[in-house]
């Protein structure tokens, strides 16, 4: 049984995949109030839209509109808590492969469309 301070130890912490690749930050946490027991952390959320919501709902709408023009598949990328392997001082490790998630949509797009096209990078 490990005690956590959700604000200090989980929210805004670095998220790494099972290979240790940095894949983003815990931009938001969804808490489930159903059931008779204590509230449960259901999922962590990542994405610009989640961040924008924390600034102001209007900013969220702008960012969401912008996102539709971009290569990002989903605005909110949700990782269920069951996928969280560990929470350390340095990161939250999740049992996923970063490259296959929407969190890496931009990374993949930039790598294929830009980095790979630079002369000398093959």
């Amino acid at each position: 049984m490990k005690k956590l301070d959700l604000a200090r130890d989980v929210l805004d912490k670095l998220v790494v995949d099972r290979e240790g690749t940095k894949m983003g930050r815990v931009d938001g946490l969804v808490i489930d109030l159903s059931g008779d027991g204590p509230p449960r952390v259901e999922a962590i959320e990542m994405g610009f839209v989640v961040l924008a919501r924390r600034v102001h709902p209007r900013v969220e709408r702008w960012v969401e509109r912008l996102r539709r023009w971009s290569v990002r598949r989903t605005a909110r990328f949700r990782v269920p808590w069951e996928k969280v392997k560990e929470v350390t001082n340095y990161h939250v490790q999740v049992d996923l492969k970063a490259l296959e998630t929407p969190a890496f949509d931009w990374e993949r797009w930039l790598r294929d469309r830009f980095v790979a096209k630079v002369p000398g990078e093959d």
Binding site: A7, R8, L11, D12, K13, L14, V15, T21, K22, M23, G24, R25, D27, L51, R54, V55, Y90, W106, E107, R108, L110, R111, F114, V115, A116, V118, E121
Partner: protein, 406 residues
């Protein structure tokens, strides 16, 4: 012993953050207008910068986290967003200025117009970042940066009156034009206390894989590296005071500063100035572009690192690529490098409290730093910095316009 090779990081930080385009301009203006009277501003700013750089290095060594990284994590996104945005904006202006510096140096050597150099310089800087590792950049910049010591040599060559120089270390009021005096004083502090400097230094320490055992060495590196930058800036003031002031030359344009070294070195002086400026500003361009990419990547939790292949951190590399391109635009469209410098220095002074506050909060986190958290001396300095920087924020922008700075 090997740890002392990390002095390169200190000197790189100092070359980029200290003796760059801003310090060139402010030193020359200070010396030309007020002779030795503003040396105290450099001394005070140096003392403060040593403390702050030491703190950011200590933080990185103990927690293995860079500052933007830790600020977002511990203070939260809603707290960080405003400092982050103002810092990014100011860093952009500084980057544009440094690119302008390299362009101007090339203009001095080749005689071709400055705006023509903007794109080639951006591409050159980009190639460096794309191709090399952190330690290559660190070592080459700090080694080449030693050429700026020419200003110190020239300062001694001129045999400045010792009494008057010493008196310059005591703050005093100017006889006339106090607005201009304070405008230059503020921009000296702005030029030395570049906010991105601390963030960059801590990211550099993480790139160089510092751990707790570096806490002691870090103190020496901070003190020596920053003193190096400070010595060059003071050299610049003394040379300007000995060469420009007696002739009645004020620095309203970088061309007027370019002759500074020709008294001490009749044949090489002009080239030395151009090369010093070019190298210092190129080093600064690399540092500032990296600083920007670091803080954005760390804030958003991307893969980052100058030691990775660009394919492994495509977003990180794209950020510095885009930043360099965007920052070359003002010079490309013919903005005067000196005007840009004055604006950038004012913006640096203005954003300092936004950047210093989260930093100071973090340095007092005892859960995180344990026995390495700030003691009362560091905290006293930090509080003084915060108060001074608050005043600077309020006065810097109006002063830059009123005092003209140039």
């Amino acid at each position: 012993m090997k740890k002392w090779l990390q002095l390169a990081l200190g000197i790189l930080t100092a070359v980029g953050g200290f003796f760059d385009m801003g310090a060139m301009a402010t030193s020359a203006q200070a010396g030309a207008n007020y002779r030795f009277q503003l040396l105290w501003a450099v001394a005070a700013a140096t003392l403060i910068v040593i403390f702050l750089v030491e703190m950011s290095g200590r933080f990185a060594a103990v927690t293995k986290k860079a500052l933007p990284d830790a600020i977002r994590e511990h203070l939260g996104f809603t707290f960080w967003i405003v400092p982050f945005l103002v810092l990014t904006l100011s860093t952009y202006l500084v980057l544009a200025t440094e690119i302008g510096g390299v362009c101007f140096a090339l203009h001095l050597v080749t005689g071709l117009p400055t705006p023509l150099m903007a794109l080639p310089v951006a591409v050159l800087a980009w190639l460096f970042l794309w191709r090399s590792t952190f330690s290559t950049i660190e070592n080459s910049t700090s080694l080449l940066g030693l050429i700026t010591l020419a200003f110190v040599v020239a300062a001694f060559h001129h045999r400045p009156p010792a009494g008057e120089v010493l008196r310059g270390f005591v703050p005093s009021l100017p006889g006339e034009d106090p607005l201009k005096y304070w405008a230059i004083a503020v921009s000296i502090v702005g030029a030395v206390l570049s906010p991105y400097l601390f963030y960059f230094y801590s990211s550099g320490a993480v790139e160089d894989r510092w751990d707790r055992s570096y806490v002691g060495v870090n103190r020496g590196i901070a003190a020596l590296g920053m003193s190096f930058g400070s010595a060059v800036a003071m050299g610049g003031i003394v040379v300007a005071a000995m060469v420009l002031a007696p002739r009645g030359i004020q620095v309203d344009d970088y061309h007027q500063a370019a002759m500074m070294l020709t008294d001490a070195f009749p044949f090489w002086g002009f080239l030395l100035f151009a090369v010093s400026m070019g190298i210092a500003c190129l080093g600064a361009t690399l540092e500032v572009a990296l600083a920007m990419a670091y803080s954005i990547a760390q804030t958003l939790g991307w893969n980052w690192g100058e030691n990775l292949d660009p394919r492994e951190d495509a977003r990180f590399s794209s950020v510095y690529t885009g930043a360099l391109l965007l920052a070359s635009l003002p010079i490309l469209f013919g903005v005067d490098p000196l005007k840009l410098t004055v604006l950038a220095m004012a913006s640096e002074a203005a954003v300092l409290p936004f950047v210093a506050l989260p930093f100071v909060l973090l340095m007092n986190d005892r859960k995180l730093l344990k026995e390495h958290a700030n003691g009362w001396i560091s905290n006293t300095v930090a509080v003084v910095v915060l108060l001074v920087s608050l005043v600077l924020t309020v006065v810097s922008i109006p002063l830059a316009f009123l005092g003209g700075g140039g």
